[in-house]
Structure formats: C-alpha cells, structure tokens
C-alpha cells in the first residue's frame, strides 16, 4: 500500500559527502563542536550555522537568485544526514533550512524571497514554527490565535507554544484564524503569516524542557501590526499549507538519527566486549536504520518530483521515532555488564541527554497517535 520510490545518489553527492565528512572531522578536532544527542533541537550554534552557510550547505535546493544553490534534494539529504550522524550543532538554522525557507519560496512575495532566503542560506536568519497553542496541540484546528484585516495589513493576536528556538529566531510562521469555521469544518478560515519576531507586541518567554534546557518557548502576540505581505500564501488556505509544511518536517533523517551519535560513541567499547547478545542488538539496530533511511530517501525523491507525500512522511516519522527510542533502550542493555570505567568520557553525558529527550521524539512534529490516525485515514478507515 505504501510504496517508497527508489533513489540513487549521483557522483556529485558522493563527492559532497566526503567534503562534509572532512569538514566535520576538522571542526571536531579543532574543538569547533562537541557532539550532542538530539542535536537538531538541542545544539544551537549560530557561528557553526554561518560556516555551513558559507560552505554552500544551507538552502541547497533553492534557486540561485534567492541565495540558494539549485542542487537536487539528494544533496541536501547528504549534508543533513552527515550533520546529524556527527551530532553537530545545527539547531540554530535547522527549521529555517528544512521548512520555512521552502515555504517562503513557494508562498512568499518576491520581496520576502529576496530579503529572507539569502540570509537563511547564509546561516544568518533563523525561524520558528507557530502551530500549537496552549489549548490546541494535537487538535490543531482548535487554535484561537486570530488575524484581522486593517487598512495597512493585519493585526495578529494570540498565543503560540512549544516553538523550538523562537528565542533566537528572526521569524515565525504563525497559523491563525482569519475567518470563522464553517459549522463543524474548522479547517477552513485558517491562514499562515510570516511574522517578524522583532515587531512591537511580540513577547517570547522560554520554557525549560525536562533536561533543563530552554529550547522551546511560549510566544504572546498582543495586537501585533503586520504588513499586508505578511500573509503567506492564500488567505483561508492555511490548513493545507500547514500539511505541506509537515511533509517537509516529518520525513527527514532527524526522525531516526538523533540518538545515533550516542551509539556510535559507544561502539569501540562494545566491540571490546563483543558477544552474541551485544552483536545481535547492534545488527538489529543497523538493519532498522538502513531500511528507514531508504524510506526517508524515497520521500525526498517524491519531494524532488514536486509532490507532497504527507502520508509517507508520517510513516517515516512514526517508525523513526519508535526506533530512536528503541536504540536508546537497547543501548542501555548492550552496555549492561561493561564497567563504567571503560566507557569513553563523553558517553555517560550523551546517554543521559538521550534518555532525557526520549519523551519528545514521539511528540514533537505530530504525536505517534496523530501519525497513526493519518496513516489509517489514508487506508480509508476514517
């Protein structure tokens, strides 16, 4: 029922992969970064993002006239998966490069494209997602944030929550109601806005996560005056646009590679204590990751063809999130019986951080339950 198309990297992609690996090794050796689990959410380093930008590794698929590099989706995939596998500090630019930029490219005004996209591609402009609200999480259509038209543009009022990186971001794409729901159909009357977070009336406050890191935020919009071109795409089309954004958000390698760095760090000590039990777990994890990557690449191929494979993206995220959590659980089992004194220095910290991030994998970007509902709907069950 769910077929993921085949996908092949070209010679340029292989060349690119070795360039990225060389760069990452040099950065790591020179202390440019310390590998972290869940790095695309937890490890923000604007300086590192700027380096990636100057290497031409952000906005890779966008047209050159907007500061992009007109490369195929496959090349972006190579860069992102290598960064994740290395646990590099990519959180600052991640959302802008992954979804906001592409969204602006599709729906933004010429002025916005020329203004914002080159800055994202340079690693100098960061963005956040404004979907969830205190009273509207999985039930996204229940949002209360609203925008009303004025003579000069729009006035935005409401509250967004769980926005990763909003505290260092320059823009947020906000989903807001612009006209009332039609009876039970609440998906109509929603629109997306590109909001400059430096505008008067925007108040961002950090929320610390389970591990104590202030990575996400609550943002209050108090009668924020927006210019007319802040409306992104078509008025009333916000729901469909959001779903397109989620296809970009849900299928990437960050949905199954966040804990790989922990396992990779442990591999030498596991190898010194290799036995059938440990080997079996390692073999199983490898098989699962390799297959999921193949599926994720299939979604990238569909995105390349201009499709919006929302359901296949949900499949990748659903399986990937379960796998990520499984990797951490199995790693604890594999390490059992190996004296802590033999562990590499950074392994304890990495494992602790990975454990503390476990709950968020199956929540952020759509909970497992919501994803299963999307998959069931595709099969005609709902």
């Amino acid at each position: 029922m769910f077929q993921f198309p085949r996908f092949a990297f070209d010679a340029e992609a292989d060349e690119l992969r070795s360039q990225v690996r060389t760069f990452l090794e040099a950065e790591r050796a020179s202390g440019g970064f310390v590998p972290q689990a869940d790095c695309w959410v937890s490890a923000a380093d604007p300086e590192f993002s700027r380096k990636l930008g100057s290497n031409g590794w952000l906005g890779m698929t966008w047209p050159k006239e907007y500061g992009g590099h007109a490369r195929p989706m496959a090349h972006r995939f190579v860069v992102t998966e290598e960064l994740l596998a290395a646990g590099a500090p990519v959180a600052a630019h991640w959302i802008a490069d992954r979804q906001t930029g592409s969204h602006i490219l599709q729906y933004g005004s010429e002025e916005q494209k020329h203004d914002i996209l080159p800055r994202i591609a340079a690693g100098e402009c960061f963005t956040a997602i404004g979907m969830s609200e205190p009273q509207a999480g999985s039930d996204l259509a229940a949002i209360k944030t609203a925008a009303r038209r004025t003579d000069t543009g729009w006035v935005l009022s409401g509250r967004k929550i769980w926005s990763t990186g909003a505290h260092f971001s320059h823009y947020m794409i906000v989903l807001a109601r612009t006209s009332p729901a039609e009876g039970r159909n609440r998906q109509v009357g929603l629109s997306q806005f590109l909001v400059d977070l430096s505008l008067p009336g925007v108040d961002i406050s950090g929320i610390r996560d389970l591990g104590g890191t202030p990575h996400f935020n609550e943002t209050l919009f108090e009668d924020v005056e927006l210019p007319a071109d802040a409306l992104l795409g078509i008025e009333g089309n916000g729901w469909a646009q959001c779903m397109g954004e989620l296809a970009l958000e849900r299928s990437g390698p960050e949905r199954f590679l966040t804990s790989l760095i922990v396992l990779e760090t442990a591999m030498p000590v596991i190898a010194r204590h290799a036995d059938d039990r440990r080997a079996g777990e390692i073999g199983s994890i490898l098989a699962n990751l390799r297959v999921l990557r193949r599926m994720s690449l299939g979604v990238a191929e569909l995105l390349e063809r201009g499709e919006s494979p929302a359901t296949l993206a949900a499949v990748v995220k659903e399986m990937g999130n379960r796998l990520e959590n499984d990797v951490v659980a199995k790693l604890r089992g594999v390490l059992a019986g190996i004296p802590k004194a033999e562990w590499p220095d950074e392994l304890g910290t990495l494992l602790r951080d990975a454990v503390l991030h476990l709950p968020s994998n199956t929540l952020r970007g759509g909970t497992t339950e919501i994803l299963r509902g999307i998959i069931a709907r595709e099969m005609g069950m709902r």
């Binding site: 396992l263 596991i270 390799r290 499949v315 998959i375 069931a376």
Partner: protein, 340 residues
C-alpha cells in the same frame, strides 16, 4: 550469469503469474496440504508458462532473469499463499543454470547448508531437493510417491522422475559459497514475508471494515486503526528492505560479502516485521483469525515458518553485528549510509 530482465518484461511476467494464481483454487489446495490433483494441475500450468525457468539462462530455455528476480516472483506467490515450491524452484533452477547446468524442471526444495538439521520447506510438495555441501551442488530425489510427475515434456530439459538420480555432484563456482547460497535463499524468504504481509494487511483491512461490534465497524475504533497503521508501516519497511537487497544483488550477481549484508538486513527487518504484523492482524481479527478455516492463518503460519528458515532474524543480526564489531574502527554510520 544473466543480467536480469527489463523492468517492463518482469512486470508482464508478474501480471501473468497473478492471473494464474487468482484463478487457481488455492484455498482448497492449501486445505489438501499442497498436494493432489488441483495442485498438479496448477503446477502444470505454471510449468507450461515457463515460470520455473524464470531465472535460467536463455541458452537453458529460461527467461534470463537474475537471481534477484526470484525475489519478485517469491513475493507474488506469497501474496497468494501458494502452497507449491515455485519460489524455491525458481531460485534453485536459477542457481543451477548460473553454474552452467541445463536444469531439469522438477519441483525443487532447497536445503540450508548452514543449518543441516533444519526441517525442509515443501518436503511433501517437491520431487527434488537442491543440496549444497563442501562447495558442491547436488540435486537429490525427494519424497517419491508424494508428487505426481509432470506431463507434457517436450525436450531434454523436461522433467522425468528418473532423471533426478542421474544428476551427479558438480563443483559450484568459486563465488557460490555456503554463505552466498544460504543468503540467496534468505532473500527469497524475505520477499515471501513481504508479500504475505501485504496480503495480511489487505485481509485485515477488509475484515475490520465488515465486522461490527458495539454498533460500528471495528475499523472505526482507534485501537484497531493503530494496529492497522502498524501493520502497514511494518509491511512498507519490509518491501523497502527487500528492494535494498534485490537491488544489491542485481548490481552484484555473485552475491559478495556486501550483498550478503544487505540480504541480512532484509531478513532481519522482514523477520521482525512478520512477528509484529502477525500479532497485530490476529489481535484485530479476534477468535475468527485463530481458526483453521479462516484464511488469515494461511499467511501467518507461513510468516512464522519463513522467519526461521535460512537464518532467523536473530541469527542474522548476531552475524551482522559481529561483522561490524570486528572492524578496526567499529562504526554503524558507514554501513547505514553506504550507497543503495
């Protein structure tokens, strides 16, 4: 060895096979234990349409498919729960042809060189068994009296019960190690599992949309939807896993170490998925699925059997894990990100 067929040709061959299987009384054949008149008639049809020779070289009267194409056929036969050793026969004849032997078209079972005591699949449904031992191949007669000889032999390659004994040991080519032989069969089993899981998914979707409890179809209950989502995800992963391995084999027909690793990944992933899919489907079906009469068991019994044949997922995982851990610089990423 043959370089495989054009995708379009393979597609047509698959559609022809689908038609034959859709018309055959497969449930009745299954209930008869995979032997009897219906089975013989079906096998005769498959034989006359050339399916057993799919992977034989053209000079051997075959269609010139690659050994990876055996996986394609295996998936189709499993989706129809075909109780005949067509998939094994296609692989066995393909291997023999690749070794330069003009194959006789028996119903052939395959024994596992890495697990000699393992029970033989299709033991009651085959005329012969392909044995690989000490670098030599041998076709042994099997189950005399259980299966009817095929009719309509027109050339020297046609089946004759007496010819089985005539085949002598032959030395396998260097590339065909016990590991490679075991892996090729494991790929066929992986493809069969992926095919059977597709059937289980369809069956469970249909059943839960028709069966009502508490005044509405089971499919409207969220708990049931989650079982179906899980089955669909695991099935999709299995199909992808088999594609990775088949593609690797198409590019490396002599099944080298890296290709064996890709097959390991397919067998691990499909074996794990089979357990989850079977469990979820039975849960969604309730007691009906647990009857011999209802057709779910025709698929799940095979899933459980195929999980174990030619290396269970655990056995393959241990071997794969040891291969990674034995490297000078043990790391997963180079293997995860290796070219597809």
């Amino acid at each position: 060895m043959a370089g495989g067929m054009e995708a379009g040709d393979l597609q047509m061959i698959g559609e022809g096979l689908e038609r034959i299987l859709a018309d055959a009384p497969l449930e009745a054949i299954d209930h008869a234990g995979g032997v009897g008149e219906d089975m013989n008639a079906l096998w005769q049809t498959l034989y006359e349409n050339g399916y057993p020779l799919l992977c034989a070289n053209e000079e051997h009267g075959g269609m010139g498919g690659s050994l990876g194409d055996a996986a394609f056929v295996a998936s189709i036969t499993a989706r129809h729960a075909l109780a005949a050793p067509l998939a094994d026969t296609v692989l066995a004849i393909g291997i023999l042809s690749a070794c330069g032997i003009e194959p006789a078209v028996y119903r052939i079972a395959i024994s596992d060189p890495l697990n000699e005591g393992a029970p033989l699949a299709h033991s009651t449904q085959s005329d012969a068994v392909l044995v690989f031992k000490d670098g030599r191949l041998r076709l042994e007669p099997h189950s005399p009296g259980q299966v009817e000889p095929l009719k309509g032999a027109e050339d020297g390659a046609a089946p004759r019960g007496s010819r089985i004994e005539a085949m002598e040991d032959i030395a396998a080519p260097n590339w065909l190690t016990a590991e490679a032989f075991h892996a090729l069969a494991a790929l066929v089993r992986s493809a069969q599992m992926a095919g059977a899981m597709q059937a289980v998914l369809d069956l469970t979707l249909t059943y839960t949309s028709e069966r009502e409890q508490f005044g509405r179809p089971l499919s409207k209950f969220q708990a049931i939807q989650h079982h179906l989502s899980d089955i669909a995800c695991e099935t999709a992963a299995s199909i992808a896993a088999v594609e990775i391995a088949s593609d690797a084999l198409a590019a490396d027909p002599h099944c080298g170490a890296r290709t064996i690793e890709e097959i390991a990944i397919a067998k691990i992933r499909c074996g794990q998925a089979a357990a989850r899919v079977a469990a979820g489907a039975h849960q969604a079906h309730g007691a009906m699925g647990f009857t011999r009469e209802y057709k779910l068991g025709r698929y799940t019994r095979r899933l459980w059997q195929w999980q174990d044949e030619f290396g269970s997922e655990s056995e393959w995982a241990i071997r794969l894990g040891h291969a990674v851990l034995a490297e000078d610089e043990p790391a997963l990423w180079p293997r995860i990100s290796a070219p597809l």
